[in-house]
Amino acid sequence: MRGRGGTRSKWKLGILAAIALSVFVSFRYQDSLKGQPATPTPTNNVFSPAHSSLPQAISHFFGHQPEARQPIAFVHKVHVNEVQMECVDCHFTVARGPIASIPDIRTCWSCHATTLTEHPEIRKMKDYYDKGQDIPWQRVWGWVEESHVRFNHAPHIREGIDCKNCHGDVSEMTVATRVVDHTMEFCVSCHRERKAPDDCVTCHY
């Protein structure tokens, strides 16, 4: 009986430890969300590719990507359907290089300095601009580093692949959302269908 009692108390100890750890971790997380540090000291202060926090390491390990919460409710639908803009008008380098690029605030400002200036979302943008800040867009697409996937937009555009194939119908969206699951199967099946290379090193290098 003594043995059983001992085991039970150790069980409790284990759970206590787990709770303590999670509390500790969430506090660290709260700390990191508190906004700007009090002193102008950079956060990444060593030559290291390591994760800046334990939660970040764990979520990357499990391939978890948080839902993007955008600072401004950008409306793709209006820009594409009503203003009749092309994707490449803002995502400048999509045909030239690996990254489609999210334009910085100066691109937005080139129209919105005079367009729809009273709109509440545009006012938010003006606040950023006046403070000399860029809009802190959050990443929607992409893979965590641990998956070791590299992607280059330019050859896909040259091949004439419609943006929709991978990013869904953006002309029906406000802010972009992840409507297509970029699994390996998704990429490989299309590559095979179009007789594009499907070696491992095409993407994993």
């Binding site: 709770i19 969300l33 959050q138």
Partner: protein, 744 residues
């Protein structure tokens, strides 16, 4: 808790942690508006110049967008900007020809170093204790200008001192002009492994006061006296390339390479034959070879011309240097001397070189003149496979005349009641680390009332400064250089910044120009920025086909083909009292070993110890890293009861240091050697408090004609430390030493 419980508990903890890890904690810093147009993911290649050593290799820098944590207007944020990502050699550049050494590869860490000084600092604590306060550039420059105006109004302009690493190109011109117009004495240059001895010897022998370039690609016999030309000496990238050509570039021909030195260096390890000569007798050996060549009538003494006349007894066949006599002095067998002399004279083109420790004796000039005469005897100066002197483009760069060596300046400060230097500008040199204790450099610096440093890092010297005006890194500023050696072309390198500055730093030449304008009596320098000065200087170069834009784009100006350099002043009074014997500090009975500090492959003179890639670089010969060590011959070690890893106490007449023993068969039994570079007290998180500094036990002896430190002239005794100190263990890449020692 049994194993199963533990696993359950860990799983529970893991799951909670994962949940807590959701969200996006990365955006805690504000994003700043980019300062430049960017094409993300697309790399561009830009030229630059490596500033880590005096070789002046041209760089090709891969620049791509990235996110940097910066402070703008006092606010920290993330800025998307074009960042230098990788350094390689510039394929068009005559020195580096697309290649780069290990130190150049690591040079990029100097820009992104976490301990870089990010904005002007003013000292707030006691001098040398550390506390500094961040101030604005305007405030900092007002301080300096007020001090200089103070000197000018007291008519005491000579009290401005300028202590710098050796400067070249337009930086040197600007500093000279600044000091001259202000009325201050010329800048004092200091570098531990300076080359003044060799320059002076080459001036006397050949009329060129500069380092030589060896045409190894066409040589068939190379005799090197201590020159580590593949590792750390002269222009190692250019000479390594030529060496590769020499060994493998000519089908059917593989030149012979003989290395003369008491400790087998990285370069020596490549040689066909190793001649472990007694320290300080390299010149005697060279004259012994010359004697045999003359005696056996392989050459006539008049072939050596001026270089031969500088040697006593040259025209009478060097009768004092018969092989038996030379054997007694050098420890090299007479028969071997005869053989080497015949090989050298009969397998042309042959070339002899001298560098490193043989020049760092009190008889350094004699040793260099002896090797020069040996070269002149086989008529290889300016000939294929021989010695060349890189032609200098005429750009107004002047040899600094009247500049006094640091030892004399320090002695004068110490002997005066109040320091004759009231304001000192300190540029990228660290004499507190790199001078022997007998020079009392730190004490002298502490007597100077006001020190302004342009350093990017706090080191043992700049921590004494009252004001720090941090320079840009070389990737962030206009850079220029006129290489002294490494090519037969005439070269002037220049390159614009490859990236915007990360921090609130300013380019030192621009700071000097600004100070000159803000003085009460402005110095009327004709340029508003350093860029303007460079454009004017490069515009004066002969070939009109090279417009300024093209020069910037390719990373410099160079002649189309090899050029011949006009000789400078050739006349020099003959010094017949010059001693051929090296003096050493410490009697052999008390201090039985020669102490040989050497330029570390990773850190050179210690100025690169702050770069972690170089700290973790295993030494080529020993595989040691992150530490200091003392190389000792295995037989000697056995006699003293020393095994590898034992902590030794090395004692000279000047001081004591401790370092672990590394047994090496590539060292003479009466010599112990130690790499320079570790043992910093203050030099960023990566170098501070690591290993020990061999310079701290060196004697203050100098070569008398140049005042250069004779850093190889100290004798020591070696003892095993009974109470083993584990704070600085020997760390070898190849083995875990602690285990090995236990099993022995």
């Amino acid at each position: 808790m049994d194993r199963r419980d533990f696993i359950k508990a860990s799983a529970a903890a893991g799951a909670t942690a994962t949940l807590a890890g959701c969200g996006n904690p990365e955006n805690q810093l504000i994003r700043l508006i980019p300062e430049e147009p960017l094409a993300p993911g697309i790399a561009t290649l830009k030229p630059s110049i490596c500033s880590l050593c005096a070789a002046g290799c041209g760089l090709q820098v891969r620049v791509m967008d990235g996110e940097a944590e910066v402070v703008r207007n006092g606010e920290p944020g993330i800025l998307q900007m074009a960042l230098a990502k990788k350094l390689e050699g510039n394929p068009k550049h005559p020195i580096s020809q697309g290649k780069l050494c290990v130190r150049g590869q690591a040079a990029i860490q100097a820009t992104y170093h976490p301990d870089r000084i990010r904005q002007p600092l003013r000292r707030t604590g006691a001098r040398g204790s550390g506390p500094f306060q961040q101030i604005s550039w305007d405030e900092a420059l007002s301080d300096v200008v007020a001090r200089l105006d103070g000197l000018a109004s007291a008519n005491n302009q000579r009290a401005l001192g300028f202590l710098t690493r050796p400067l070249r190109g337009q930086r040197q011109v600007l500093v000279s002009l600044f000091l001259q117009r202000f009325g201050a004495p010329p800048a004092t240059a200091f570098e531990l492994f300076g080359e003044d001895v060799l320059r002076e010897a080459n001036r006397q022998s050949f009329g060129y006061a500069q380092l030589p370039t060896f045409d190894l690609a066409r040589s068939r016999y190379v005799l090197s006296f201590g020159a580590d030309f593949l590792g750390t000496w002269n222009s190692p990238v250019a000479h390594s390339l030529a060496y590769g050509e020499m060994r493998q570039g000519r089908p059917g021909i593989r030149a012979k390479f003989v290395q003369v030195e008491p400790r087998l260096s990285q370069t020596g390890a490549n040689a066909d034959e190793w001649v472990p000569v007694r320290p300080g007798t390299e010149g005697v050996l060279a004259l012994g070879l010359a004697h045999v060549i003359l005696k056996d009538r392989l050459r006539n003494h008049s072939a050596a011309g001026r270089a031969g006349e500088l040697i006593d007894g040259w025209s009478t066949g060097l009768q004092g240097f018969i092989p038996a006599e030379v054997e007694k002095r050098t420890g090299i067998a007479a028969a071997r001397i005869e053989r080497l002399a015949h090989e050298f004279a009969e397998h042309g083109p042959a070339v002899a070189m001298i560098g490193g420790a043989p020049l760092a004796h009190t008889n350094g000039i004699f040793q260099a003149l002896a090797v020069n005469a040996l070269n002149a005897l086989v008529s290889n100066v300016g000939q294929a496979g021989g010695i060349f002197f890189t032609p200098r483009p005429g750009m107004g760069a002047t040899e600094a005349t009247g500049a006094r060596p640091l030892r004399d300046v320090a002695a004068e400060i110490l002997s005066a009641a109040s320091s004759p230097i009231q304001v000192l500008f300190l540029n990228d040199t660290n004499p507190v680390f790199g001078t022997p204790p007998a020079w009392r450099a730190e004490e002298a610096l502490r007597k100077i009332p006001y020190i302004v440093s342009f350093g990017s890092f706090l080191d043992e010297t700049s921590i004494l400064a009252d004001l720090i005006l941090p320079d840009h890194s070389f990737l962030e500023s206009w850079v220029d250089d006129v290489p002294e050696a490494g090519t037969q072309m005439s070269v002037a390198s220049v390159a614009p910044p490859v990236m915007r500055p990360l921090h609130q730093t300013r380019s030192t030449p621009d700071v000097l120009i600004e100070i000159s304008q803000r003085l009460q009596r402005p110095l009327s320098l004709q340029w508003k920025t350093y860029e303007e000065m460079l454009e004017a200087a490069f515009g004066a170069l002969p070939e009109k086909s090279n417009p300024w834009e093209k020069i910037q784009e390719q990373g410099g100006w160079w002649s189309e083909s090899p050029m011949h350099q006009a000789q400078t002043t050739r006349v020099s009074p003959r010094n017949s009292t010059r001693s051929i014997d090296a003096q050493f500090e410490g009697r052999p009975e008390d201090y039985p070993f020669h102490f040989l500090p050497y330029a570390s492959q990773a850190f050179l003179d210690g100025s690169l110890a702050h770069l972690p890639w170089l700290q973790e670089l295993p030494d080529v010969i020993t595989t040691a890293m992150w530490s200091s060590w003392v190389e000792i011959n295995p037989t000697t070690a056995r006699n003293l009861g020393i095994v590898q890893g034992d902590v030794l106490e090395i004692k000279s007449s000047q001081g004591t240091l401790q370092a672990p023993a590394l047994l090496s068969p590539g060292i003479a039994p009466d010599v112990v050697a130690m790499p320079v570079g570790q043992g910093h007290q203050t030099f960023t998180r990566y170098a501070s408090g690591r290993g020990s500094n061999p310079v701290s036990i060196l004697a203050g002896l100098t070569e008398p004609e140049t005042g250069a430190l004779a850093w190889a002239a100290t004798r020591v005794r070696v003892a095993k430390l009974e109470k083993s100190d584990t704070s600085n263990p020997l760390i070898l890449f190849s083995t875990v030493l602690g285990d090995e020692a236990k099993h022995r």
